[in-house]
Subunit: 401 residues, 2 copies
Amino acid sequence: MGSPERIRNVAKRVARWKAQGHQIVVVVSAMSGETNRLIALAKDVSPQPDARELDVMVSTGEQVTIALLAMALKDIGVPAKSYTGSQVKVLTDSSFNKARILEIDDGAVRRDLDASTVVIVAGFQGVDADGNITTLGRGGSDTSGVALAAALSADECQIYTDVDGVYTTDPRIVPEARKLDQITFEEMLELASLGSKVLQIRSVEFAGKYKVKLRVLSSFEEEGKETAGTLITFEENEAMEQPIISGIAFSRDEAKLTLVGVPDKPGIAYQILGPVADANIDVDMIIQNVGHDGTADFSFTVSRAEFARAKALLEDKIKPHVGARVVEGDSKICKVSAVGVGMRSHPGVASKMFRTLAEEGINIQMISTSEIKISVVVDEKYLELAVRVLHRAFELDQAAA
Amino acid sequence: MGSPERIRNVAKRVARWKAQGHQIVVVVSAMSGETNRLIALAKDVSPQPDARELDVMVSTGEQVTIALLAMALKDIGVPAKSYTGSQVKVLTDSSFNKARILEIDDGAVRRDLDASTVVIVAGFQGVDADGNITTLGRGGSDTSGVALAAALSADECQIYTDVDGVYTTDPRIVPEARKLDQITFEEMLELASLGSKVLQIRSVEFAGKYKVKLRVLSSFEEEGKETAGTLITFEENEAMEQPIISGIAFSRDEAKLTLVGVPDKPGIAYQILGPVADANIDVDMIIQNVGHDGTADFSFTVSRAEFARAKALLEDKIKPHVGARVVEGDSKICKVSAVGVGMRSHPGVASKMFRTLAEEGINIQMISTSEIKISVVVDEKYLELAVRVLHRAFELDQAAA
């Protein structure tokens, strides 16, 4: 939600959906910059604002938008009614600033929908059992939308973003990247967590859990030129040909740490990773290479922000404790992943990926695989090249056959 | 409520009251300019904003302030909790933008007070029986404060304004005007309705109805230099000497209309004022002078904004219908009033007022009296002179004996 102009445009779009006979619930976020303005105002009064009161304040951002959209709809003859999270009500736990939705009362909303009224709900907010206003934390409006769609058994939950769908990879790196018409939740989760930041990962998880179909659409498309975006389904292969690979994801936010010459004995992985976990450092990929001299090299990746802290921890605490020879670190790496549910039934994907990278002289430093994903760690300087050649090798620039 | 700086100052003041052992409920308005900003934003989206949705939007102004004040209090170690009108709850009727309070649930507030928590309530807003957010209309924060004070049987309801109390008259006209320590509700109602715009008339009526003591205080006084303001009581003469006259009020917003030569017969007043009332024109003072020729002159005053409309109505409709000779109008008049409960037991007030004006050569055009007020209409050019000489004649520049 941006300017008054944007709000009138959203109203027109909702009116067209309504004219097609749909019952519509619109979940809105605050106007651009409003949440940040409110947080800045709070910090101006109180350096560390009280969590409960911050939610009372920040929730006004969406409250303004629901009212504006309802007004704009009524102005063009569409019956509409706004609801705050408390009014719906969207019951959450009492974790202010980062509450989780427990239950949604769909009674009032259903009555309005049955009376042909468009219902507009403030996203990002709820109310706890004691009547306190809560917010779901940043990005929570998507989650609100999904939760309402689930509670109302909606046909689909459309999420309007600043992109027009989910792409086979980042078009800034591969101009031939193609918008996907459809993708599964599992794939979307892998793509989202690997850096395709189209949707909040939490809302995708939520949608998967409650079997809500999501559609990613652009909120910037002109009237009459709207596209269908990308449908994220929980059913694989809905009567359409599933490509083996749906997309190539990547992340630069990676750093690698290696303990060289670790005695190869049971329990060593725990002795290394236990203290790392205790320090609240998330570990992503893990590899252990057993050598011939009774020692092993133990490597893992962390986010770059944690690199220095993790390295110091290895040097100061873990290396002496486990008796490793040396700690090596490399923060100039990246992760490139091929994602697709089709690889379950096509065993040749990994070898094709490795061959493609080898042909370009790209050395693979680490590998990890899941049922629907193969990730490799390579030198950061190869990131664009690796993404481009993999995108081409898996024919992602061509529409599904 | 103004800037973050102002909010921190209010917090300090509340903390000092709290330290004195008081249980405190603070009712706040929106930050300066915020309500107007929200209304402008609404009109930017919708020229005539829907009344329900406007309340959803405008109520966010106070919601932001309650959160900020609660944060500021907690920062200085005072336990505090904010409540929106819906959370309290302040039950109103469903007249959006101008709702009336029906009932206040004091349960949660009392529990917090008993737990030594300062309760901060959003003024100006409530919730109807269906859970819709309502607002009380402009100035409603005062009314919210009074209603809460009544519901909680508070010792007194302090209203912080931009003046430090109620004065014997406008100090801009009479520099010797004196701040009153105490005044009765009846007097305050007369003073308020006659143009001493210290308090919203509705909140004063409300306070009188529920026997809530009001104290008008300045919100701009510096720490340590606060005065006791003016206490507005429902009990006359609380063991203190009551002056005969408490204040001289005045209004420039007056215009006079006279129908000359009206046949003097029963029902004529209704034939004249009925159509005026039907046109939604409020009439204030009314005088009928019976002449010797079987006709009368019929005069009344209206607000200046209604002068042209009322004059046209008299000319076009009423004069021909009642058979008057001529319509005269004068928009250069003013009303000056002496107000005081003491005049009930002091019959000489009217004659003293008339003599004082006569000595200055000020001609009295109309007179109206009530139990505690005498008003006269005079030429507007005499307004300042009349207020000054009456203020002196009734010794209002001298502290009560």
